[in-house]
Each structure stands twice: as structure tokens, then as C-alpha cells.
Symmetry: C2
Subunit: 381 residues, 2 copies
Amino acid sequence: MDVTSAPAAAPTLGEASAPGRLAGPDEGIGAAELALAARNHGLPLEALRYDTTPPGLHYVLVHYDIPVVPAADAGEWRLGLGGLVRRPLRLGLAELRARPAVTHRVTLECAGNGRARLSPRPVSQPWLVEAVGTADWTGVPLAALLAEAGPADGAVEAVFTGADHGVERGTEQDYRRSLPLGHAADPARGVLVAYAMNGAPLPPQHGYPLRLVVPGWYGMASVKWLRDITVTGTPFTGFQQAVAYRYRQAPGEPGDPVDVIAPRALMVPPGFPDFMSRVRVVRPGPVPLTGRAWSGHGPVVRVRVSADGERTWRDAEVTADPGHPWAWSAWGASWTAAPGRHLLTVRATDATGRTQPLTAPWNRGGFGNNLVQRVEVLCVP
Amino acid sequence: MDVTSAPAAAPTLGEASAPGRLAGPDEGIGAAELALAARNHGLPLEALRYDTTPPGLHYVLVHYDIPVVPAADAGEWRLGLGGLVRRPLRLGLAELRARPAVTHRVTLECAGNGRARLSPRPVSQPWLVEAVGTADWTGVPLAALLAEAGPADGAVEAVFTGADHGVERGTEQDYRRSLPLGHAADPARGVLVAYAMNGAPLPPQHGYPLRLVVPGWYGMASVKWLRDITVTGTPFTGFQQAVAYRYRQAPGEPGDPVDVIAPRALMVPPGFPDFMSRVRVVRPGPVPLTGRAWSGHGPVVRVRVSADGERTWRDAEVTADPGHPWAWSAWGASWTAAPGRHLLTVRATDATGRTQPLTAPWNRGGFGNNLVQRVEVLCVP
């Protein structure tokens, strides 16, 4: 042994994290992005046919590990509601289930949906277009729990803490996000502390035993494995609020918060696919085109379809369901396919006039890229 | 219009498919591979903790689209069993459910698991190590159905056809695979026509309403959305049997069939992860290591763990469950972490003496790569 060698310096947490970066020109998806893509997953687009997404097909994005909560332990699970409140609460599942339950049909979408279609590509979970799903979420209105606890004077936000634990850009953390109290405590915003998805207990990857569901906002707000709600007198500046999930053009900027879901339409790719290229094959003749469209800003009022590479557009029929204001709407159109290669495009516009862009809106985190979906189709006699 | 221009030739199916190829040196995962990775998914490795994999966490590999079979239509679903049999059958779900049911706990793994760790990388679904899952499958023994139908003289194989339809390397096809009749009709091999997974109807992506489950073989044999079984007098030479799923070193070779699952051990990555790098962080002191191990050739009899980059190995404790011969076994070991970077490796050996390799076994399709799992861990004071 070389007694002159100094002991290695103890490593620091920061060594676990690589700095945020953009992929180089023509840089393919790397090992770390692939590791995320292999464990998280999107909605297979043919599953847009279902009004509510069957278990296992709804998109999943887990920052760290899925916490292990055996069914036997779920009975021990406690949700704390404290901080600037007059009557702090500490509730088990049975106590939550004993309260009046509501069910909301909500479309959730990952804020990073579309990231892998950006150039340059921010290196993170590499979604194409499929990070979406719709479920019937059942639970207790957050507004009712907050009313029960009674926010004290000076309360401005509610901070939600999940049981998932990890490190990100050198910061060790429990996953944590906040909502303005005016949003969290407003029954009309429909925020839920949910314990069921499509009528069954939450699957582990969707937050078992408890999660937040924030209708109309990207999924990062809907904290899973929810174990604490703290009402605060100052805005939350934790990692997921102030560092991640900001729209920025350059690294140093404070950026704007990522929150409401931008409009998007997706189609069920018609015909059948090639296994590897995913090119779609149809036969000549009428081809029904169907899909879903949604926006967190308001109802989708118009869906247009192009079958000629965006030279001409036709209106699809949109079927809104006023009973489910936070869920996607179905749309349908018909197309008569002729032999050859075709590019199908679908484009949604919501009631506020927001329309999907034809060129990708770029930002450094790769958030909110609601570029139109383009589907390559080969019509073969 | 230029009347001298010749009409474009009608496209052919072949244009939907790119030729099979190997990725170039340092070529990252491309758009088509990413499209597959975004819709198919592996088991998040922390879910190795469950004896049976909860819905939505079991690996999924779908060649084409998930066929749409509404619950109302499942009652109309018919499984044909014909060809070289004396009494052809045509059975609905109710008739299958009325027969004696058996439940087998089976570990299924994709034959392409490990493909993305090969160099050069065959371009296809880019699995790392996670394409596995274990479920309790309930259904009717295939052997019982074949006995009922009565194979005629000269019968040699049973060919299974699914409802999933697509094109692959220019060949339009329903997904179809065969088994030798001696395997299919042998009650001891445990092949099932399954209608339930973990006690519930099959999820759409796992074959609703009916699928084959072939214990001990890679997943390509377990045909989903099963609608026909045809007993034949000659070996099946369809695409998925004779073209895909062969071990080949060069494109022209006939290759050896991909069939029985090679041994593999996986560990629950210890500690907690960095979101992006997936590096694991642990604190100094005792760290329990746990995981699962399996082989289609026989029980796993030995699992060894290395915590020093494969210089030294220790035996883990393996807990076999004789009641579930086709399911993975749990293993456990303890490790005392000291500050620094560590490479953990786990390696399984089965009762036939087959051991996981320390260098990846390469073939052109990227099948059966059961290279040992390596987990990078940072121990931070």
C-alpha cells in the first residue's frame, strides 16, 4: 500500500447529478434518457379510443422510485394538513373515505410531452406526443379539507409533499409542489385528494394510496403518494416549483411557471402499423379518423384535419361532454385515401382562441410543446 | 398539369418497412426505436419487490396495435381449434370459463430484453434489462383443449393466431407463432389459454379477452388476443417463427430458434435515484440487497453478488418456492456501504449449470442478452 496516497475525498450528492443540458445536433437518445423511457411510458395511441384509459395504458412519469406501500400499510397512511391553519388535521384512509366523495373525469398530461420533438432537444424524459391519459378520479375535494382545517390569516399557498424521494441537480428532496390558496380552496377548480382511479384503488405508479389531482394543469401539480399538505404564508420556492418546471429560453432566467395545459389534439393512427417504422398502412377508400382533444384553458371548440401535408384543412366534428369539463373531447372526421404516401395532421383550438402551433415552441426544459401531431400513412392498393 | 409526367407507381407494402440493421458506432437511439420505447414499457425495477407484478407495471411488448375488443364484444369472441383434429372446437369465453380452471404463476420476459446493451445494437425495441414481469395467469390448460379436439394422425405442431395485425419487413400478417405438439399437449408444460391475470380479466395490452401463456419461454410464444389454434402436419414457417426470433450471427443464416428463457437475476436498485442519471444514492452502513432471479431451463440454484466491480463475489440467499416452478425466486444479500462510488453486480446460475455471462452474448436480432445487471451506486456520508 502506498502510504503517501491521500484518502479519496468523500463524494457529495452533487456527483449523482449531471448538469442540465441540450442534446447536440443529430445526437440520438442517450442511455439515461432511454432508462427513463423504458420505465415511464405513454398512452399507446390506439388507446385514445377509450373514454377513460384502462389501467396500465395511462401515461406514467415517476421522478424517483415508486414508494412501496403494501396494502397492509395503507391503513397506517396518514395525510397531515397543517401549517397556517386553525385546526390541523391528520387523516387516515378510512377517515377520508367516510367523507362525501366526488368523482371527476380528468385528462392529465405530462408537461414534458413533446420534448423529444424539439431541436435542440433538452435531455430529460424523451416524450414524443403520447404522455396523456384520462381517468375517473374519486376522492375528497381539497377545498372541503381546507375549509375544515380553516386557513389562518396570511395564508397564501398550500404545499403538497409526496413520499417519493430522490435527488435532482444535486438537490435531495421529497417530491413537492404548491398551489395558490385561491386555487386550492376553490371548489370550482375541482382539485381532489384522490384514493381511486376508474373505481379501483390507485395503482402503485399512480400514487397509491393517495394523490392530488389538479384538473387542467400539467401532471407535475398532481402530487402522488400524498402525505402532507402545509398551508404557508409565503410562496413555495422548492426545486420543482422554482428550479424545474419553468419556461426559460436561457439557463439563468427565473422563467415563467409551467401550469395550465396547452391545447392538443391526437388521432388514433389509422390502419395498421409497421412494427419498426410505425408507418401506418391503409387501403384505398374511406378511412375514418378519430381521436381526442383537450386544453386546460377551456373547452376545445375546433379540431381541424389536414391530409395533404398542411396545405388544406377540414373541420372535424367535436363531441364535447359538458358533464366532464376537465376531460378530453372526442373528435371525428372522414378521409378518402388514394394510393400513395400521405401526411395526416390534426390541430385543436380552444375556447380562448389558443391554437396548436405548426412549429414547435421551444424552451430549455422542453415543456408544453403542443406542436401538431403528424402521422405518416402509406395507402397501398 | 404536365401531361408528359408518368403517374406515380402505386406504393407497395414493402415501403412501410425499413430493412433490419445494426446501429452505427456511437449512434444514439433513433426516432423509430424511441416510438417503440414510448409505447411499450418495462418493469420499474423497484417493482421487483412484489411477488406478482401489479397491473400496469408488468412489461408490455406489442408488435402492432392493441386490438380494440369492447367488453360487449368479448361475449362474441370465439376461439377456433381446428386443422388436423378429429373434433374441431369453437369456444366462447363462457364455455372456456365453464371448464376446470387452473392458475399458474409465470414469469414472462421479452426475448429482446437487453438488446440496447449490445454493441453494435440491433435496431428494434431498445430494452435495457427491465422487460420482465410475473403474474398469476388463470385459464384452461391447452393440453385439455387439445385432448378434447383429438389431434389426428400426422399432427406435429399447433399454430396460434392473434388478432393483432400489421406489417413487418414487408410482410403483412396477423401475429402468429407455433409450438411443437408434444409441448403444447403435455400437461406438465403448463401451457394455458388464459382469460385472467392476477384474478382480473386480462388488461387490453395483455391480450384481452384471451391469450396463450407458455411458461419458461420468452414472451413471443405467449400469443395475445388469441383467436385461433390450428393443428398442422408440417412445422410452421411463418414470419415470427422462421424470419424473426432466430439467433443469427449474419443475415443469411437460418439461425437457431429463440425459445427457452436464459437465466437472469435483477436487483431492486438500493437507496434512491437521481432523476436523470438514475445513479443510486445510499448512506454509509448496512444496505439490504434484494431482487428476483429466474430461468426457463430450471430453478435458479445460485445468485452471487459483487460490490467491487466483479473482483469478488458472495452468495445471496435464494428463496425458491416449489409451489410456483415457473415464477421467479426471491434473493437477498446484505452489503455494508462505505463512502465512494460502487458498482453492484448480480449473477444467477440455474440447476442446469447455465450462468449469466459477464460479457454480452451478441446476435443480430438482439435476443436473449442475459448479461449481468450492473448498478452504479454513490455512497454519500
